[in-house]
Symmetry: C2
Subunit: 357 residues, 2 copies
C-alpha cells in the first residue's frame, strides 16, 4: 500500500524540526506555502498539521500561524531518572519493577540512582543527572526529608530546568512538586486504634527521626492516643535514625528501658519491627504474649516472621506503576496533577495479642 500523501507532509515536518531547521516555538511555513511546495491540496496539508497539533508536536495559534510544539523538547531522550534511597531490598525492588514495567511499555528507559539515605550520595546523584541533562523527567524519593536538606540548591536547579519532577513516598515540607505516597498520618492513628481495640492501653513506638514519614506517623500516633483517650507518655516515644539500622541492638536495649510497662509497640517499618522482635526474643521477651508489635510496609518477609507480623500494606509495585504513568502524563501535560495518597490498609497477622480475651 502506498504511503498516504498527508504522511509525506508529517514525515517532512518532523524531519525538518528534528534537524533543527525549526526550533521549539518557531513558526513553520503556512498551509498555503506547504501546499505549493508539495503540490498537494490544502486539505491534505491541514490533515497532516491537524495530527501533529493533536500530538503536541505543533501548536496552532488562531489568526497567527502554526508553531513547533513543546513535545519536541519534552520527550527527546525517552529516559526517566529514578532516585530512591535503596534499590536492592525491602519494598524497593517491587517499586522499581512497577516503574520499569510501565516505562518500558511506553518506550522509555529508566536510569536508576540510589542514595543509601545519605545526603552526600543524593548530592552526587543529583549533580550527575543535572550535568547529564539527558532525561525527560525525574521520579525521586527524598533523602532525610525531616532534616534541613543541604541539596536544596540542586533541587532548585531542577525546578529551574522545568524538568517534570515527581516525589514518591515523601516530599520535603513546603515543596510544591507532586507526590505519590501512603497515608502515613492515618497509619499512625490506625495502629493505635487497632491496638486499643485489642485491649492495649500502654502503647509505645519507635519512629524514624530523620524522615518526614516518621514525623507524620508520630503525628497520627498521638492523634490515635487522644481519640482512644489514652495517656500520652513521651518517654515511650523512641526515635531512631537511618544510620542505626545497621546495628540497632544498643539502641534497642535503651529503648526497652523507656518502653517498660508498654504492652504494645508500633514500629516505624517492618525492617525495624523484624530487628526489634529478634532483639526482644534474645532478652526473653515473648512476642506477642509479653509485647505486641505492629509494623508498617508489609515487606516480603513479614508474613513468614515468627510470629507473622501484623502490619500496614505499602502499595510497592502499584506505587511504582502509578508514579511511572503519572510522570508520563506530566511530560505531556504540564497541568496534570499527579498528587496521590494511597489509603491505609491493615494486615492482621499474629504479632498482636488480644488482651480482652
Amino acid at each position: 500500500m502506498r504511503k498516504k500523501k498527508y504522511q509525506d507532509v508529517i514525515d517532512w515536518l518532523i524531519n525538518e524540526i528534528e534537524n533543527g531547521n525549526y526550533a521549539e516555538g518557531e513558526k513553520i511555513p503556512s498551509e498555503f506555502e506547504l501546499a505549493e511546495k508539495f503540490n498537494y491540496s490544502r486539505q491534505t496539508i491541514r490533515r497532516a498539521t491537524d495530527e501533529l497539533v493533536n500530538n503536541k508536536y505543533l501548536s496552532r495559534i488562531k489568526g497567527s500561524g502554526t508553531y513547533v510544539g513543546y513535545r519536541f523538547r519534552k520527550k527527546q531522550y525517552n529516559t526517566i531518572a529514578v532516585v530512591v534511597t535503596y534499590v536492592d531490598n525491602y519494598i524497593f525492588p517491587n517499586t522499581l519493577k512497577g516503574l520499569s514495567d510501565i516505562l518500558t511499555a511506553n518506550g522509555y528507559s529508566m536510569s536508576v540512582y540510589y542514595t543509601d539515605d545519605c545526603v552526600l550520595k543524593e548530592r552526587e546523584n543529583l549533580k550527575l543527572l543535572i550535568a547529564d541533562n539527558h532525561i525527560d523527567g525525574l521520579i525521586i524519593e527524598p533523602t532525610k526529608s525531616a532534616l534541613p536538606s543541604p541539596n536544596l540548591d540542586l533541587y532548585q536547579k531542577i525546578i529551574d530546568m522545568k524538568l517534570p519532577m515527581l516525589f514518591i513516598n515523601a516530599i520535603y515540607p513546603h515543596f510544591n512538586s507532586p507526590c505519590i505516597r501512603i497515608n502515613d498520618q492515618k497509619i499512625g492513628e490506625e495502629s493505635v486504634n487497632y491496638l486499643f481495640q485489642q485491649g492495649h492501653k500502654k502503647i509505645g513506638c519507635i519512629f524514624q527521626a530523620d524522615d518526614i514519614q516518621g514525623h507524620m506517623r508520630y503525628k497520627g500516633f498521638i492523634k490515635g492516643l487522644k481519640k482512644a483517650n489514652l495517656k500520652f507518655n513521651q518517654k515511650q516515644i523512641c526515635w531512631i535514625d537511618a544510620v542505626s539500622y545497621q546495628n540497632p541492638n544498643q539502641l534497642f536495649s535503651y529503648f526497652l528501658s523507656r518502653l517498660k510497662g508498654c504492652t504494645a509497640v508500633v514500629c516505624y517499618n517492618d525492617f525495624i519491627a523484624e530487628k526489634f522482635i529478634g532483639f526482644c526474643k534474645e532478652q526473653g521477651i515473648r512476642i506477642p504474649e509479653d509485647l505486641s508489635i505492629i509494623g508498617i510496609d508489609d515487606a516480603d518477609y513479614s508474613a513468614t516472621l515468627i510470629p507473622p507480623l501484623t502490619t500496614f500494606r505499602h502499595p510497592q509495585y502499584h506505587l511504582g506503576e502509578l508514579a511511572a504513568k503519572s510522570i508520563l502524563k506530566m511530560i505531556d501535560n504540564t497541568n496534570f496533577d499527579a498528587n496521590y495518597i494511597f489509603q491505609s490498609q491493615l494486615i492482621i497477622r499474629e504479632s498482636v495479642i488480644n488482651r480482652k480475651d
Copy 2:
C-alpha cells in the same frame, strides 16, 4: 498645687470607661456636652481628650466624634504570660530574670508556665492561659519545635484572639509570629570552622532531633564541613531527644561507637557536653587530648568544668530583657516588628586542643 482642670476631665473619662459605662469603640459625650457638664471651656475639654487620644485611650474620627480606644482592651490586665520549657536550671533562670526585671519596671506581672519540653504539658498550659484570658501578651518558647505539634489548634486560638505572641529561642517552621533567638545555623557552622582552624579534620556531633535548634545547628554544621572541604560522614551525626537527657549514658555508649575516629565533637548544648565529657572520662577518654568538645549556650557551670568548656554565648538575661521590651512594644503597636537574632560569639576555654601545635 491644685489639680489642673483638664485632669479632672481625664480622670472622670478614665473612670467612666473603666467602670464599663463606655465600652471599647463606643462614642463618648461630645466636647460641647462635656463642657456643659463640667462647666469648663471647650478648650479645656479639648486638652483632656487630646491627651487621651495621644495615648490611644480614645480615638477621634473626623466629622463623627470621639470613641473609646484600643488601649483599654490591650492593656487591661497588666500581665504577661511566659511559657518556657524549663524554669529552674540551665539558661532559663537568667532569661526569666531578664524578663521579670523589665516587666516589673513597667508595672506588669509575669505568669510563668513551663512545659518540661513535653507537648502534653504545653497543651495544659496553653489551655489554662486561654481559659483564664487575663493576659495582655504571651512570650513562649515552643516545645519539640522540630516535630509536628499536636497543639497547633491552641496556637491558632491564641492567634485568633489577637493576643500579642512572641516566640523566644525557636519558632515552629512557617509560623508568622515574631521570634527572638540566637543564630543557631551560624553557630553550627562556626563550631566546625573553629575546630578546623585548630587542626581537626574528623569532626562529629550530637544534636537534638526534636528541637528546631538542633536542625538549624546541623544545617550550619554541614555547611561548615563543606566550606572547610571536610568529608561528611553521616555516621558521625548523632541524634538525641529531650527525654534521653535524664539518663544518656546508654546512648552515649552507642554514639562513641559511631564517633570512632573523630578528634572533636560538637555538642547540641552545654548540658549534653557536660554529661558527655563525664561519660568519656569514665571510659578513659581524655578531654581534650583524645577528644575535643565544643558546647553551645555557656551555662553557668561551663567555665568551671574540667576542662573549662569552649562554647558559644547564649544571651540568656539579655534575651529575656529584649523579649520583655518587645512584647510591650507589640502591645502598644501592632505593627512593631519584634524579630531579632543575636549574633554568635565563641568563648574559647580549654576543651579543644590545637592539633597543629
